[in-house]
């Protein structure tokens, strides 16, 4: 089969087709752009028009972050009906599972299932049964599960009698009661059970050489759960039970059980708003689904922290070799401050929930606190005594006013240029915590460590740190070794960007667009 329309054609006024992305018994799906430049998916509904349109109209105003949005239904000059949909740039789950023939990690499967459950829950709350859940209709975009092809009937009227859909692949996810013609939303729960089984093992529970054989297995055979991780066995037994009355009453119950076995009960969001409006705090780009699993986080975090140690050591050494003018005494404090600063960026960025605005006052205040902590650490590392209750006997030289060092500074002469007469009013303690605290308060450090940032390494971020460091060093009386403060934060900006994982943020990945199989 070939696509009817080619790139550049405009069958529907205002929409220019770029390429075809899906062909099926129901029609053709194209990637198109509007006159204003918005990217959309256009679905030309060629058959079962009445059934399709009825289903689509029911879903037109449905909005949910885990559902592919339907924008409009339009008719062209020839009377053809077109469904205008959200363009999803991610991969379908089928492609992902094809790359993982033995299934994905249980944590990942559980994570994806949460998104899937939210979408199905939203549909069920609106009285809609999806009826054709399968990996090809589920997409993963920027870590978010998106369910498509809902509201479309898929010749289900026929299938109720024939016991099969037009698309043989769908049979694998078909609940036994569909053959009786008497079914409800329980069929979606069964299909989700099959999907979970497939995500965990890489295979569907029932396979056969013909649709009839597969359907017969759905009706009579028990799924082989020996390959499934043991904590999922009870869940799958209940989800895949033949009698719909014995299955989970709702999809959220299934999701809750999955979260419980993954020891992540907090990950369940029992009722995302199912209104027609998106919740305001849902950002356009979410790095990962709301509940990142603990082990994944731990693996990422420990890996990042390890790399940060290596990178900090390497860059500190490089800097000292190139600019140190043979003075190696600054190598160790530069290394430790670079490491501490980069950790203070990497850890909160990793732990900060990806929901909501990235820049907020609580976040800034946390960074300010961390910056003050680094300032105190720098003081300690430089050998200053801190005014602690248990340290009363020591000379609290951190409260002494800053004074110019006895020996002329070595290293980069640019810092020598800024040397001014000693300030006799501001204590050293204040200088340190002010410099590091303000540097962490003023700059948006987390941007350098976010998963979805513009580029892997941004020289602008480094220059921003250098600019503000230079400015503050100029405004503040100074640190003992101003070069150390300047260099360590500059290197931290580099280390954070290099060690933090990065994924391309752009929503358009034109090579992997497979929106719907119609």
């Amino acid at each position: 089969m070939k696509f009817t329309y080619r790139s550049g054609q405009e069958p529907l006024p205002g929409y220019t087709i770029k390429r075809g992305i899906g062909l099926g018994g129901f029609g053709e799906v194209y990637f198109a752009v509007t006159a204003g430049g918005k990217e959309v998916a256009l679905k030309w509904i060629r058959s079962n028009l009445d059934i399709e349109l009825r289903g689509v109209q029911q879903c037109l105003n449905l909005k949910h972050p885990n559902l592919v949005h339907l924008y409009d239904v339009r008719a062209d000059a020839q009377g053809h009906h077109w469904l205008v949909m959200e363009y999803v740039a991610g991969e379908p789950l089928s492609a992902i599972l094809a790359r993982h023939p033995n299934g994905v990690a249980p944590e990942l499967a559980a994570q994806w299932l949460q998104g899937l459950a939210q979408a199905i829950h939203c549909l069920h709350e609106h009285g809609i049964v999806h009826r054709d859940l399968k990996p090809a209709n589920i997409f993963l975009e920027n870590g978010i599960i998106k369910v498509g092809d809902y509201g479309l009937c898929k010749l289900m009227a026929d299938s109720q009698h024939a016991g099969m859909t037009k698309d043989i692949g769908t049979v694998h996810y078909m609940a036994p009661e569909i053959s009786t013609g008497n079914y409800n939303r329980q069929i979606d729960i069964y299909a989700v059970g099959v999907l979970l089984y497939e995500m965990l093992t890489g295979n569907v529970p029932f396979e056969g050489e013909s649709a009839g054989e597969i359907l017969m297995k759905h009706l009579t055979a028990a799924p082989d759960l020996s390959r499934v991780p043991k904590e999922f066995v009870a869940i799958l037994e209940k989800a895949l039970t033949k009698n719909p009355a014995n299955r989970y009453a709702s999809i959220m119950e299934l999701a809750k059980d999955v979260a419980i076995v993954m020891k992540q009960p907090g990950s369940i969001v029992m009722s995302l708003p199912v209104s027609n409006k998106l919740p305001p705090e849902i950002p356009s780009v979410i790095p990962v689904t709301p509940a990142m699993l603990f082990q994944d986080r731990l693996a990422d975090l420990t890996g990042n922290l390890l790399w940060a140690i290596v990178a900090s050591a390497a860059f500190s050494l490089l800097w000292t070799l190139v600019f140190g003018a043979g003075d190696y005494s600054k190598l160790v404090p530069i290394f430790f401050l670079t490491l501490a600063s980069s950790w203070c960026v990497l850890i909160p960025t990793k732990l900060w929930p990806p929901i909501g605005r990235s820049d907020s006052w609580p976040r800034r205040l946390i960074h300010l606190t961390l910056g003050i902590g680094i300032g105190l650490f720098a003081l300690w590392l430089e050998g200053y005594d801190l005014p602690m209750p248990w340290n009363a006997a020591a000379r609290m030289d951190a409260l002494q006013p800053w004074q110019a060092p006895f020996d002329p500074p070595t290293g980069m002469r640019v810092f020598g240029v800024l040397d001014r007469p000693s300030n006799t009013s501001m204590p050293i303690l204040t200088c340190y915590i002010a410099y590091f605290g303000l540097m962490f308060l003023v700059l948006r450090w987390w941007k350098a460590a976010q998963l979805y940032r513009g580029t892997r390494f941004s020289i602008k971020a480094m220059f921003a740190v250098m600019f503000w460091a230079f400015l503050l060093l100029f405004l503040l009386p100074s640190l003992h070794h101003r070069e150390i403060g300047f260099v360590s934060l500059t290197l931290a900006a580099v280390v954070c960007q290099i060690t933090a994982p990065w994924k391309e943020r752009t929503p358009v990945r034109k090579k992997k667009v497979r929106l719907a199989t119609a």
């Binding site: 249980p106 082990q295 308060l441």
Partner: protein, 200 residues
Amino acid sequence: MKQMFLTICGLVLLWAIAGASGAQTNVPALPEAMKPREVKAFGVDATKAREIAVNQATILVGKLLEENHYTSFRPDAKYVRENLLADDGKPGPDVRNDLVGDEPLKQWIVTFKDSNWWQDVVRRDYEAQRVQRAAVRQSAAKRFVVALLVLLAIANAYVRINRLTRSRYARWLQVICVGVASVLLAIALLAFAMYFLAGR
């Protein structure tokens, strides 16, 4: 704009608080009675006498520091000559000593500055103490980071292997990880004990 606003607010606040605090250098003054005024020294010639006078002044300042429990900084003759003495000094009356010989010994008198050089000396002692403390702390921080590096590597290896094996051997992996960490901890403690004993 937000950044500029935050910076200005932060700095104004700092200057308002810290600037008004009027922190003063906390160096106890040397009692007038202990304050050295001049040092007399003798030598076979004026040059030698002057050299000995500066050395004696250096020793005197060192003793003063020690008496006041400042043990980290020891001034050298160059520092004393350039910073503590008022000038090159002046020759004093020659002294005849039969034990030395027939030639009279030349006398040289160096005078300490009237300014509060004691404060500078003590500040340098503070600085020397700080440098010593910094070396100790940086050494401790190095050990801490090495230990942390090992623990992170163990945790990372555990999570990755556990994920690779789909938690089938989670218990065994936990036992191995705790075992490895315990062995490393024991080695570290043993090394510390040996270092401590060797030091004694």
